[in-house]
């Protein structure tokens, strides 16, 4: 069984009058289980051109209604370059150069087609992003010539 661990630390000495220091670690499990870790992943690097909202991670039956975790980082170094991350055309937020996110993602097939896919659009300049998806499964496509 694979063990995947995510650790996040947030620190600041001056945003409050007292220092702020948070650290949290979690193991990435399958939903509905107590000890079965996620055993599948994708790790990609892509250049997102400006002008179009793309499906970064498309929904599929194999991913539905369970635990999936997404990590996305904008590798651009110009702080004015950003990507929007959205689901069903609702923008969650913007990742400027060097920003990252880590979040659970529930692929929900109950409503309109493609409405739970994770979407991305680049602004200002093309953005190089890296993302990892730790997931419960994928829908494999039968080879057309099989």
């Amino acid at each position: 069984m694979a063990t995947t661990t995510a650790t996040l630390s947030l620190t600041s000495n001056d945003i409050l009058s007292n220092s702020l220091s948070l650290t949290k670690s979690m193991t990435l499990y399958k939903g509905g289980t107590t000890s079965t870790a996620l055993e599948q992943m994708h790790y990609h690097r892509a250049i997102i051109p400006t002008g179009t909202n793309f499906d970064l991670i498309a929904e599929s039956a194999a991913l539905a209604d369970n635990s999936n975790y997404v990590y996305i980082v904008n590798k651009n170094t110009d702080v004015t370059d950003y990507v929007t991350i959205s689901i069903n055309s609702e923008i969650i937020g913007k990742l400027y150069g060097e920003d990252f996110l880590f979040m659970p993602w529930n692929c929900d097939l109950s409503a309109a087609a493609n409405d739970s896919s994770i979407e991305i659009q680049a602004y200002t300049h093309d953005c190089t992003i890296e993302y990892a998806l730790f997931h419960v499964g994928e829908t494999l496509v039968t080879a057309a010539d099989s």
Binding site: A2, S9, I15, N106, A132
Partner: protein
């Protein structure tokens, strides 16, 4: 200007070779290298509701942006419950759009643009008391 740093690391033996990712970012205002200077501070809530609970109100539920009308934020949220039998979770929503599920012990760190209709809400999956901690950094 305040300096607030977020550091993430992901490690796994999921593949034949060890996976080890890490990244560090300073939380800044939109499109600048100026550190954010505002935060909600760390909040802790307990709820046994299975209805939607609004964490940050951008007008989805109230039609007008509430007191938490924040734009360009970065949210950390954690489900403090034990994992239990692994079937209980909190759904994290953007208005009516489901983002994902925080099972006991899970956390998320996401940017949040706010704006009309994009309330940040949670919905526990059961009436079991759920304890959450969250903090928002914003402009």
């Amino acid at each position: 200007m305040a300096t607030t740093t977020a550091l993430i690391s992901l490690s796994s033996d999921i593949g034949d070779s060890m996976l080890s990712l890490s990244n560090r970012t300073v939380l800044t205002t939109a499109g600048t290298d100026t550190g954010v200077t505002k935060t909600t501070g760390l909040s802790r809530i307990e709820t046994s509701a299975t209805d939607n609970v609004i964490l940050f109100d951008s007008g989805e539920s109230t039609s007008t942006a509430g007191t938490n009308a924040i734009t360009s934020g970065k949210l950390y949220i954690q489900n403090l419950n034990d994992r239990g039998d692994g079937t209980k979770y909190v759904t994290l929503l953007l208005g009516t759009v489901e983002i994902g599920r925080l099972y006991g012990g899970d956390f998320a760190f996401i940017p949040w643009s706010g704006g009309a209709g994009n309330d940040l809400e949670i919905t526990p999956s059961s009436t079991t008391d759920t304890t959450l901690e969250y903090v928002m950094f914003y402009e």
